[in-house]
C-alpha cells in the first residue's frame, strides 16, 4: 500500500486511506479518484532562484526521470555537496522515482533536496535509501514547494553506521496532500537530528512523519518540528521514537510546536515514544497556540505594522528550526525561503 505502488499498478485500491492508522490524517484515497496517465519525459524545468546561493553540483530529475547528473555516492573520506531537484513538470500526470544516496566511511555530504511543482494536479512519489557508513556526516535540507492541487509522497530510509551523523531539516508549504516520511535506523553511537518546519495557508495539507529506531547503545537524537498554519490549512506531525531493548544510554529529544493563525487552521500532532530499554533519557514537548498577542502589541506599539509584526514574530518562531542548520549558506537559503513563504501567510 503506497502511492508508489498505486502509480505502478494503476490500482486505486493500493492507495493508503484513513483506515490505515498511519494515514488517518493524510487520506490519499479520498483525494485521488482516478489514476492519471504516467508523466511523459520532459527535459526542461524553470530555474529556481531560491537555490542560487548554494555552491554545489546539480542533479535534476523531471517527472521522475534523471535528466542531469547521476546518483550520489560519496567514496570513503570523500566530500560532496549536491543540489538535487525533483521537478514535476506535467499537469494531471503521475510519476515515481527512487533516488538513493550512499556516503562511505568518513565521508561528508551536504545535500539540498528541492521538490518543485511546476504544473497543476500531478501525483508524485519519491523514495530513497540513504546509507551512511562509519563516521559519515550528512547534512540534508529538504525544500518542498508545490501547487495547492498536487499530491506528493516521499519516503526515505536512512541507515546509519557507528559514529555517523545525520542531520535533516525539512521545510514544507503543503499541497492538496503532501507527505514526507523519514525512517531512521539508528545503531547507537551515532547522532541524528530530524527537524522540520511547515508554513501552510489556504486549504493546504502537509504531513511530516518520522520513525526513529534507536537500536544500539548511547544513541543521540534530537528533533524540533515547528510550523505556522493559516486559513483552513492542516498540518500533521507524526513522530515515533522507538528505543529497543538494550539500547541503554539513548538520549532522544523531540519538540513539536505550532502557531495557528486562524480558527479553522488545524494541527494533528502525534508524538509517540516506545521505550523498551531501562536507562534512557527521552523528552518530548508538544504545543499548539496562537501568536502571542502581547508580543504583537509590543511590536506594533513601536511602529511596526501588524502584518510585518506578525511576519517577524512567526519568522522568529520558525527561525528556531532554521538556526539549527549547520552549513552557513544552506542556513541562509533556508532563512530566506521561510521569510518569503511566511510573507504570503500572515
Amino acid at each position: 500500500m503506497s502511492l508508489a505502488s498505486a502509480i505502478r499498478t494503476r490500482d486505486l485500491n493500493e492507495l493508503p486511506s484513513r483506515r490505515d492508522e498511519d494515514w488517518r490524517w493524510s487520506d490519499l484515497k479520498a483525494v485521488i479518484r482516478v489514476m492519471p496517465d504516467p508523466s511523459p519525459a520532459a527535459y526542461t524545468a524553470a530555474a529556481n532562484p531560491a537555490l542560487d546561493g548554494i555552491d554545489a553540483a546539480r542533479i535534476l530529475y523531471i517527472n521522475g526521470r534523471l535528466v542531469d547528473g547521476g546518483r550520489i555516492a560519496i567514496p570513503a573520506t570523500g566530500k560532496g555537496a549536491f543540489v538535487r531537484r525533483f521537478v514535476s513538470a506535467t499537469a494531471e500526470t503521475a510519476h515515481h522515482v527512487d533516488a538513493p544516496v550512499e556516503v562511505g566511511a568518513g565521508g561528508r555530504l551536504l545535500l539540498i533536496d528541492s521538490f518543485e511543482g511546476q504544473a497543476a494536479g500531478y501525483l508524485a512519489s519519491t523514495t530513497g535509501a540513504i546509507r551512511l557508513d562509519e563516521g559519515a556526516v550528512v547534512e540534508r535540507i529538504v525544500l518542498i514547494d508545490e501547487p495547492e492541487d498536487a499530491v506528493s509522497v516521499a519516503r526515505f530510509e536512512v541507515q546509519l553506521s557507528e559514529g555517523a551523523s545525520f542531520s535533516q531539516t525539512v521545510l514544507a508549504t503543503g499541497a492538496k496532500r503532501q507527505r514526507f516520511e523519514t525512517h531512521v535506523a539508528h545503531p547507537g553511537g551515532a547522532s541524528v537530528r530530524l527537524d522540520g518546519a511547515y508554513l501552510l495557508g489556504g486549504a493546504r495539507h502537509s504531513d511530516q512523519t518520522t520513525v526513529l529506531n534507536h537500536e544500539g547503545l548511547a544513541g543521540l537524537s534530537s528533533q524540533l518540528v515547528k510550523g505556522v498554519v493559516a486559513d483552513r490549512a492542516r498540518a500533521v506531525f507524526q513522530g515515533k521514537i522507538i528505543v529497543a531493548k538494550g539500547a541503554d544510554g539513548t538520549d532522544a529529544r523531540m519538540g513539536s510546536h505550532a502557531i495557528l493563525l486562524s480558527d479553522r487552521a488545524e494541527v494533528d500532532a502525534k508524538p509517540e515514544l516506545e521505550i523498551y530499554a531501562d536507562d534512557v533519557q527521552c523528552a518530548h514537548g508538544n504545543t499548539v497556540g496562537a501568536l502571542d498577542d502581547a508580543a504583537l502589541f509590543y511590536a506594533r506599539s513601536r511602529g511596526i505594522p501588524e502584518l510585518q509584526a506578525k511576519a517577524m514574530l512567526t519568522a522568529a518562531f520558525v527561525g528556531e528550526v532554521v538556526v539549527r542548520i549547520g552549513d552557513d549558506a544552506a542556513r541562509e537559503m533556508a532563512r530566506a525561503w521561510v521569510e518569503v513563504k511566511l510573507a504570503g501567510l500572515v
Binding site: D292, D293, A294, A295, F297, Y298, A299, R300, S301, R302, G303, I304, P305, E306, Q308, A309, M312, L313, A315, A316, F317, G319, E320
Partner: protein, 250 residues
C-alpha cells in the same frame, strides 16, 4: 500637545478609567502618581492602543489629531512611545533587528528611505554607551534573559533610537536599583526637548528626584483627583494617598 478629555475606559467589562482629563503641553514633563490599581497602566495602554481597552466615552488627541481611532502602529508613527511597565521578551528577534525594523517602519510612514546599516549601528552604539549597556546584548533575542533593570534600559534605548514626540514611561523606576535608576533617569533627561512631551507614571516619588516634572497629577480610582507643582509629589510621599479616599492594597 496631548489632550485627554473625560476619558472612560473599561477592561473586560469592568470600568477602570472614569472621566480622566489631562492636558500635556508640548515640551513639558508631567508626572502621574497613583496607588496600585488606580488605572495608571490602563491609561498607558489606552493611549498606546492595546486591544481590550475599550473607550466608552471621552477623547484623546495629540496635536489636535484623534489618537483613539488609530492602530497602535499608526500612533507610533505619529510619535507615541510607551515604555512598558513589563517589557516583553521576543525570542529569536535580536534587539538590533527589532529596533531597525521599528525605525524603518517609522521612516517609511514619513516617506523616508530605510536607514543605512552603518548609520544605524553608529546610532545604536551611541545609545547603548549612553545607557551603559553592553552593545553585545543588542545582538541577543530582545529582552530574553535580561534582568528587570536591563529591560528598562532597553526600553529607554528604544525611545532614544525612535525619538518619539510623546514619551509615556509606565513605572520605569520599578525594579531598578539606585545606580540603574540614575542611568535611566539621565537617559530620559537627555530626551527632554521643546518638541517632546513626557508622561512619567510612577508609584513612588523617588523617580521624580531624578526626572523633575513641570507638573504632578494624582490618579486615583480612575480619575485625576489633584494637580500641582513638584511639591505635590513630596506631599504624597509624606502623607500617602489616604486623603484621596483610597486605601492601598497591602
Amino acid at each position: 500637545m496631548l489632550s485627554i478629555q473625560n476619558l472612560h475606559v473599561s477592561v473586560g467589562g469592568k470600568s477602570i478609567l472614569k472621566g480622566l482629563s489631562l492636558d500635556l503641553p508640548q515640551g513639558e514633563v508631567h508626572a502621574i502618581m497613583g496607588p496600585n490599581g488606580a488605572g495608571k497602566s490602563t491609561l498607558s495602554y489606552t493611549l498606546a492602543g492595546r486591544a481590550g481597552y475599550e473607550v466608552t466615552e471621552g477623547s484623546a488627541t495629540l496635536d489636535g489629531q484623534d489618537l483613539l481611532s488609530l492602530s497602535p502602529d499608526e500612533r507610533a508613527a505619529k510619535g507615541v512611545f510607551l515604555s512598558f511597565q513589563y517589557p516583553l521578551e521576543i525570542p529569536g528577534v535580536p534587539a538590533l533587528t527589532f529596533i531597525r525594523t521599528a525605525l524603518n517602519a517609522k521612516r517609511k510612514a514619513k516617506g523616508r528611505d530605510e536607514i543605512a546599516a552603518p548609520e544605524f549601528l553608529k546610532l545604536a552604539r551611541a545609545a547603548a554607551t549612553g545607557l551603559k549597556m553592553d552593545f553585545e546584548m543588542l545582538r541577543r533575542g530582545l529582552n530574553v534573559g535580561f534582568s528587570g533593570g536591563e529591560k528598562k534600559r532597553m526600553e529607554i534605548l528604544q525611545a532614544v533610537m525612535l525619538s518619539p514626540s510623546l514619551l509615556i514611561l509606565d513605572e520605569t523606576d520599578s525594579g531598578l536599583d539606585i545606580d540603574a535608576l540614575r542611568i535611566v533617569s539621565e537617559g530620559v533627561n537627555n530626551l527632554r526637548s521643546p518638541d517632546r512631551s513626557m508622561l512619567v507614571i510612577t508609584h513612588y516619588q523617588r523617580l521624580l528626584d531624578h526626572i523633575k516634572p513641570d507638573k504632578v497629577h494624582v490618579l486615583a480610582a480612575g480619575r485625576i483627583v489633584a494637580s500641582g507643582g513638584p511639591e505635590l509629589a513630596l506631599e504624597l510621599e509624606r502623607e500617602g494617598y489616604d486623603k484621596y479616599g483610597v486605601k492601598e492594597a497591602a
